[in-house]
């Protein structure tokens, strides 16, 4: 539940960033027709330079031996904070090309901040908890959105020519197309061909002895 709440808040956050009149709605479904959450859409301007990144510091926290949120989107140059709100230590690392870093074992209550200067997908892991994984998508634009539980995302950007990029953790290659935004735009539907979910199942409450 905490993860779902985090996702919702992230959606709201994303919607807040693009709080402009005439938000453009994107709808994502998978090959089974189910709504797809955690799909990331970004609009990279083709004719002008993108505005600089906001100064707020998004968080990817560790709680209940999980990262939250699962998918986070930031503009290039953002600083992301990794607070340990758990009862155990964590060892956060990334070996992704976009940003390699390591936060060796750090205690509950501590927080570390990392700057992400290159666009790309940063996959986060915990060295001592194999099942912990999260994605940080770094995009060179302030106009981005992430789909919520209903599979919809709202983009709000000035009218103009953009490259629309779609990414999802289970999508093979990101999808990209050039589009021209008007003041009002009809909603756009996407059917994403997703790969199977390979996330590691983790032991639940040790006393129950099962897996979820």
């Amino acid at each position: 539940m905490s993860r779902l709440a985090a996702l919702l808040s992230a959606c709201l956050l994303a919607a807040g960033l693009g709080a402009a009149p005439g938000a453009w709605e994107l709808r994502f479904i998978d090959q089974q027709g189910e709504p797809v959450p955690d799909a990331v859409a970004s609009l990279v301007p083709l004719d002008a330079a993108a505005p600089p990144a906001a100064t707020d510091r998004p968080e990817i926290m560790q709680e209940g031996q999980q990262f939250a949120p699962y998918v986070t989107v930031v503009q290039t140059g953002s600083i992301v904070v990794f607070p340990n709100r758990d009862t155990v230590q964590h060892h956060v690392y990334s070996v992704s090309k976009a940003r390699r870093f390591e936060l060796p074992l750090y205690m509950p209550g501590k927080a570390e901040a990392v700057t992400f200067g290159e666009p790309g997908v940063v996959v986060l892991g915990c060295n001592i908890h194999d099942w912990m994984a999260a994605y940080l998508v770094v995009v060179p634009t302030p106009w981005f959105a992430k789909s919520g539980a209903s599979g919809t995302a709202a983009l709000a950007a000035p009218a103009g020519r953009y490259r629309l990029e779609i990414w999802h953790p289970r999508l093979g290659k990101p999808l990209a197309r050039d589009i021209t935004l008007a003041d009002r735009n009809a909603p756009l539907g996407y059917t994403l061909t997703l790969k199977p979910d390979r996330r590691i199942r983790r032991p639940t409450d040790p006393k129950s002895g099962g897996y979820k």
Binding site: V88, L105, H129, D130, W131, R201, R202, P206
Partner: protein, 571 residues
Amino acid sequence: MLRFRRFSTRLLLLTLGLLATALLATYVFVTRANRANAIAHIEDRLAADVKVFWTSIEFRKRFLAESAKVIARDWPIRTLYLQEQLDLTTLRTTLASYAGRLNTDVFATFDEDGELLIDAEASLTREHCGPFRYLIRLADENAWEQNSDFSYIRGKLHVLIVVPLYAPEPNIIGWFGIAFPIDDEFARGLKATTQAEVTFTSGLTEDTKRVLATTLTPEMARWVADQAPKELKAGGQAMVSRLGAEQYVTLYAPLELLAEDPARITLQRSLEVELAPSRRLARMILTISAAALFVASLIATAVARGVSRPVRLLAGHTRKVAAGDYSARIALEREDELGQLADAFNQMTAGLAERDRVRDLLGKVVSPEVASQLLSSDLKLGGEEREVTILFSDLRDFTSLGEKMPPAELLALLNRYLDRMSAIVEQHGGVIDKYIGDAIMALFGAPVPVPDSAARAIAAAREMRAALAELNRELTAEGRPPLAFGIGINTGRVVAGNMGSKTRLNYTVIGDGVNLAARLEALTKEPVHRATIIVSEATARAAGLPGKLRPLGSVAVKGKSESVAILAVDT
């Protein structure tokens, strides 16, 4: 022993009995051999299955130990271990992560002295970890890279493995203890490999016996646990037992535990499954046996009929022959012994008929005594010398009588005369040797010896004379001319026996004594003697009558140097 009146019944029962016995013996032997084979085969396979179990255990132990050694070289676990304040909560979640990697349910860490720190599920206490402590101490003392054994964790049978945690090698900072359970899932895995039912049991006494893991139903597993033998050799012990509706061959093999009573691995294979092909064979044998018995009964019945029908026919014919009917003949168109028997029977019947006919004829041709002696088995050529009284009689002037009479009438007269005379001879124990025309040659004392042959001959002669007088009265009454005869009797040693060729024999006597008798008969024709019956002195002496007869002096006899005294029998 049962007795059957009918041969066919006996043959049928004998044949079927023998065949059924042989088939039953075959069936029993084959069934028992197959069962013994199946049991031996299953025992071999179960022994191999136990090896599969040990190989599987060894493989998993090695896999887990090698994996644990790789994990023990992870950087963060060593960092965690060496933090100033040991963070057991973080350590526990880290172990849970490792347990996920190895897919094992027990993953614990120990300090360098083998004391429990924490396990992935935080469910072990120090009391549970005696076996781990023991394994760690042994590995530490012997500088082993790993150590493992069977033991119970929380009452469940596990395989325990310990590996050291280096920082860096060879500096040991603690130990990993992992374990995998010997549970129902493991048993099912072993069954998938071996196709045998697998049960693990513990306890050597009645109240501690229990099922640790099984592929069987709870009831059957309970039974297996109850039957587990207390003492076991290293190779285990096999037994045949019935579980539910099926028979199983069960192999109990020992499983030594750390500081505990040994457990048992029990492997079972269905005897029914193994026996299924031989059961089919047994059913086939039974079917073939039934068919063979049926066919054999048909054949035996046919053979018995083939034998008993001609035998009954023969029996019927034998009864006819016994009743004197020699006309019956058996027609059996067969080449075998019965056919030969029928031929022999026909020949015998023909022989009997011929013999009967011969006996009949013989009685008419020769005297009954001679006939009987001829028919008796001691018929032989040659003869023996014995004392015999020979009687010769001859009609006077019978030849001239024949010229006045038709032949048939003459013969009738002659036969009438001979019939009476012969009857008298036979009444006195004499034997008609032969008829020579109207002459009669009779023997007394041959072929059957009699002591008073001479007296009998004289008595017969007297009666013949009286009979002739009687016959003459009859002839006179009939208007025919009377007959007259003379009789000569002599007693002497002669050769008696069957004489002739191989195909035709006559019993007779030869010798001078015979000639003398004929000579004496001829002397009765001489008027000077005035005698009808003349006997020699030998005869008179033999009859004990020399003084009572009228001496006629002596006559010279041809072939003898001395003359012979002769006497007349007048009255």
